[in-house]
Symmetry: C2
Subunit: 681 residues, 2 copies
């Protein structure tokens, strides 16, 4: 391995196709980071959101951070318990979309899919924004340009994904474990310093008092309930990404479902511990956050002060590692990297979901076939464009973006849990084995509790965040939903239209009449002539539309010189038009021989540069487009490769995922279709 390869491998990991990823079964220690980076990364911003929402009540608010954190932990517990059931019931890794579609029907499946698609966009926007906010602890000069920096990072992620960089398990493992070690190590060191060494640790904001905003000030009455609900809703961002493991079951080692369930439990434990640690340390160090847009501010000795916003993670790392800067840099770097990694998982998840939706006819079918990179690229571009728009509009403000987030996640949680209860009910109808029945009934109880829990959270989230931005997320989901349903209806309509009837396979045209389009007498035309002759059509003729008398005479002379024994028909075109007269000629053949089929041969230049395309083939393209509308006509392009085409070919090959199997080796035979080709010589 040379130095460059080594650096590359360090930076982007070993190149591993998704198929290989599926084949290489993951041990739990690798599966956890692969599927948990998204869920764990939210620990970097969820505590902040709780604290700064509570700041609206002033100093009294922070006292409740414990309760909110506990509530979030309870929801986390419920969700993980529920997904452990899903993991057992759907080892195929279909995810919420499959659960909803199978158990509740395609409409509910589409609801989940719309929610997930919107949430992928928000995952990118929120994760990258939070990464940039945390990076400010190390790079203060980012202050003021957060939106732009976040947009650049989204574009970098997009470019990596467009270029087809795929991560290996260890690529995920390093920063995920790094993040875990960093945060838990920081917590342990902090607690040891406070309780073991008795050091008095004070966060940079400990010296200030926080003045809240009017309606919430003092946290009394209805306002208290509303504020608690808002803090809780924002804290629930910690749950995003938990569902990832249930999608990844097939990648686990045997026993897949059990290992996945264990990993889920592990994830929940780690996430709750990290989450709790940060809240605990924030309380111990007197850390405070404010929400300037919401109306809270810092005061010192009764005088309002303005200081640059620093995340809880940044403040804690600065405080706890005040004597050990390496620790500070490690924690902040790992936080940043895991957040960008979480955004990157959306770049993988979005096209995968798109592919499944395409398979089911809710998105353009081309998205289903992977290799044609174009399709995936479109998904990646769409995701990146939407995310860049969001981070620019919201200037990478996590607090604003979080108002749109979480709705989608809980829509999909709730619908999925509802689907799971139906699943168990359905299976209980046929299951006789009392032991398995008991198991199923237990699972149904857990999923019902999960459904109730996530449903309640969804209502709280919607109610407390609707006017702050959640309505936009709901609107986006509705638009995506309507769009996908329209696409599906179109496909269904077309499918009905093209369904094979009893006679379709028997409608053999009696003869094929070949018509060669001639514009010049040159190698491409000769190739078209030779190919047309090789097909042994019942009649062959060459047709030239004359737009210029002098030119026509010279072409006719050259044609005759070739002694091809194929007549060259010259069609006069007083308007110097090619398409019209040619189409009419073909139409004439068709109406004279209604039971025959006409095959039009068009010589085509294959060129290497985009500008060459402007210079060649235009007439052929227009003609083809119009011939397509004619019944009983097929169009054969006979390509002629110009020398310059090799540039385009090498470009195209570079852009296609490199490895596919040698011809034949990947060929399998199914059914009884493998008959010998019907030779007709």
């Amino acid at each position: 391995m040379n130095a460059r390869d080594f650096v590359k491998r360090m930076l982007v990991g070993r190149k591993l196709s998704s198929a290989q990823l599926g084949e290489t079964l993951l041990p739990k220690r690798i599966a956890l980071p692969v599927f948990a980076s998204d869920a764990l990364s939210s620990v970097a911003y969820a505590p902040d959101e709780i604290l700064l929402t509570l700041s609206l009540a002033g100093m009294v608010g922070f006292a409740y951070s414990w309760q909110i954190a506990a509530a979030v932990a309870v929801v986390m517990f419920l969700v993980v318990m529920s997904y452990r059931q899903t993991v057992h019931a759907y080892p195929s890794g279909g995810g919420d979309y499959e659960v909803a579609t199978v158990n509740l029907g395609p409409t509910w499946g589409l609801v989940v899919a719309s929610a997930l698609l919107v949430d992928y966009v928000l995952t990118v926007a929120v994760s990258v924004s939070s990464g940039v906010q945390n990076a400010k602890a190390m790079f203060p000069f980012l202050q003021g340009n957060e939106g732009l920096v976040a947009a650049v990072i989204v574009v970098v992620l997009m470019t990596m994904n467009l270029r087809g960089v795929r991560e290996s398990g260890s690529f995920f493992a390093i920063p995920t474990y790094g993040f875990m070690i960093g945060v838990l190590g920081m917590a342990a060191w902090g607690l040891f310093r406070i309780f073991g060494l008795g050091t008095h640790l004070e966060a940079p904001t400990a010296q200030y008092t926080v003045v809240g905003s009017d309606p919430y000030q003092g946290l009394i009455g209805l306002a208290a309930v509303v504020l608690m609900a808002r803090a809780f809703s924002s804290g629930c961002a910690a749950l995003t990404g938990v569902e990832a493991i249930s999608n990844g079951v097939p990648a686990f080692r045997e026993p897949k479902s059990r290992n996945a369930a264990t990993t889920l439990a592990l994830l929940a434990t780690v996430a709750i511990t990290m989450f709790g640690s940060i809240i605990l340390l924030a309380n111990l160090t007197g850390l405070k956050l404010i929400d300037p847009d919401g109306g809270s501010h810092f005061e010192q000795a009764g005088v309002p002060v303005e200081i640059a916003h620093e995340t809880a993670m940044g403040q804690l790392a600065r405080t706890i590692f005040d004597t050990f800067p390496v620790g500070f840099y490690f924690v902040i770097t790992m936080t940043m990297v895991i957040l960008f990694l979480a955004a990157n998982t959306a770049f993988n998840g979005f096209p995968v979901l798109g592919s499944i939706l395409a398979r089911d006819g809710f998105l353009p079918k081309a998205l289903h076939t992977r290799g044609d990179r174009l399709a995936y690229s479109n998904g990646i571009l769409m995701l990146a464009t939407a995310a860049v728009g969001l981070v620019l509009v919201y200037n990478a403000n996590v607090t604003s973006l979080i108002q749109l987030y979480v709705v989608g996640v809980f829509v999909s949680f709730t619908v999925s849990q509802f689907g799971m209860t139906r699943h168990w009910t359905r299976h209980l109808k046929t299951e006789k084995d009392p032991k398995r029945r008991a198991h199923m009934q237990r699972s149904r109880v857990i999923n019902t509790i999960g459904l109730t829990g996530t449903g309640v959270v969804l209502v709280i989230v919607l109610a407390s965040k609707f006017i702050y931005g959640a309505y936009l997320a709901v609107l986006a989901m509705a638009v995506v939903f309507v769009l996908m349903r329209s696409i599906n209806r179109h496909y269904q309509k077309v499918a009905r239209e093209v369904a094979v009837g009893p006679t379709d396979a028997r409608m053999l045209p009696s003869r094929v009449r070949a018509v060669i389009m001639v514009q010049e007498v040159n190698k491409p035309t000769m190739r078209a002539v030779n190919f047309a002759r090789a097909t042994r059509a019942s009649s062959i003729e060459a047709v030239l539309v004359s737009v210029d008398d002098v030119e026509t005479r010279s072409i006719v002379a050259e044609w005759d010189a070739q002694q091809l024994e194929i007549p060259l028909k010259v069609i006069a075109s007083p308007y110097r038009e090619v398409t019209g007269p040619f189409l009419n000629y073909v139409k004439g053949i068709r109406s004279d021989n209604p039971r025959d089929v006409v095959c039009v041969y068009i010589p085509e230049y294959v060129v290497g540069h985009w500008w060459e395309r402007v210079l060649h083939n235009q007439t052929g393209f227009i003609l083809k487009a119009r011939l397509n509308f004619m019944q009983g006509v097929m169009v054969t392009s006979v390509p002629y490769q110009l020398a310059s085409s090799k540039y385009a070919l090498s470009r195209a090959q570079r852009n296609t995922a490199a490895a596919w199997r040698r011809p034949g080796s990947g060929q399998v035979r199914m059914g009884d279709s493998g008959r010998e080709p019907a030779r007709r010589e």
Copy 2:
């Protein structure tokens, strides 16, 4: 004729195709307006440019307007005399481009073509700008928005031309004769009032004195020469469009050349008369113009005054028709309309020249075939975009735009006259008849005088205007020249590459192996199968790339149910890619049977709406694009017309020039190619 048709006919004239225009031979009284609107319209701005350039010398300058006008008239006489020779020598109407190409070679032809293309853009910009400036006499509220208004008018002209509105002779006749009657009538009425009735007529600006700008003030020394040269150069704008008649000879009635020559003389007489009248009336009524950008301004009793700019035409019409407002409105309206008409002729001329250049391989070949509207549309769009850019950048300021103008015209005049002298010299070498020799020698003398005259003017124009804007025109011509030469070199390179060799017509592939691309079992696929079977290839097989096991099994089952006796090969694609495995399969066939040709049949949906294109055929398109790079492979699209395709068809038909002949009727046979089709049944 109903009311709507009547209004339309009044507005746009009877629809007349260009071919009909050619067939309907024009009497001189119609030919004059058809070909002279451009040349005559310049009378609306050329006198203004002389006057306002002279204003830089202060009051003393205007006294020289007579001399300048006389010089312009002399050049007009020379140019018209010269073109009368061209009209006789080139009755085919090839124009300056043909004269230069034939006599001086393609490089000089290309110089002329570049000059003309750039000048078409300037004709649109200058004419429309002048139209707007003149319109201000009627609509003072246009003041301040000239650039925008001019841009809108260019867009309107563009739209009319994109929609294929073509003018009949009478459409030109009404405003052209209206303009002539208006201006000459105004002149007659004005002279009659001044000399016949003794009325004292004073232009609105007569009361002011003009203070010139420093170097030219008082018109002394070298500055006087420079200023005279500049005024003369701007006045030469009156000559633009004179060459139009020499392009239009074939449209004249017999004797074509003679009638065209007479019309040229007529045009010159009318133009010089109108031009002279305006200068005369301006002198008689004390009309003054200033060039604020150049540095001259109005004063009244020693105090500088600022008044809104009004064109000479506007001021004269206001003064002479002060008691007869109908006359005022008539003259201004006709001036406006003829200027827009002149701009419109560029919209016709630009694509025609483009078509000729395309025929000769200097522009994309597709521009040569007319009917495919796309090609013409591109030319129209390019012209309009460039003109809109100019009027916006220069805010429809005629004085600024005129600095760029005229250069191109005189480049083409000069090169063309040079070509004509060569033409006569060449013909004199072979001509024996003394009478015709005398005639030719006389023509050569005239063209030599013309060459000298236009050459001197070109030098004066270049020298006096270069730093004021002409350098931009020269730069644009250079860019266009280089671009066209590059295109030509590309075509020549390709032509060498594809020239037919001795064996090309004999390289018959031994067999055709048909491969049908299957993605679903439906009507389009069945049609592809039936068409492929009808071609009686030596082997037929259907190929399905399996991206989804479940789906594949169901497709195989449906296939078998059709009992087609064609094997369905299933190619495994572990990467869910279609293109790669399919290409490899075809490559395998090719390398196993190098002397055969593979014909890939791709079923294609023909759809009606653009968004349906996103939903269908993507895989087929990508596959086709890649198959094109393979030697010995042809691709046959088998279109299946969905019900929605009829919308697209009717749209396409609406967009194509309506009339072409019935099949067969336009078919002529040339040479000995009309052999019977080689039937092979």
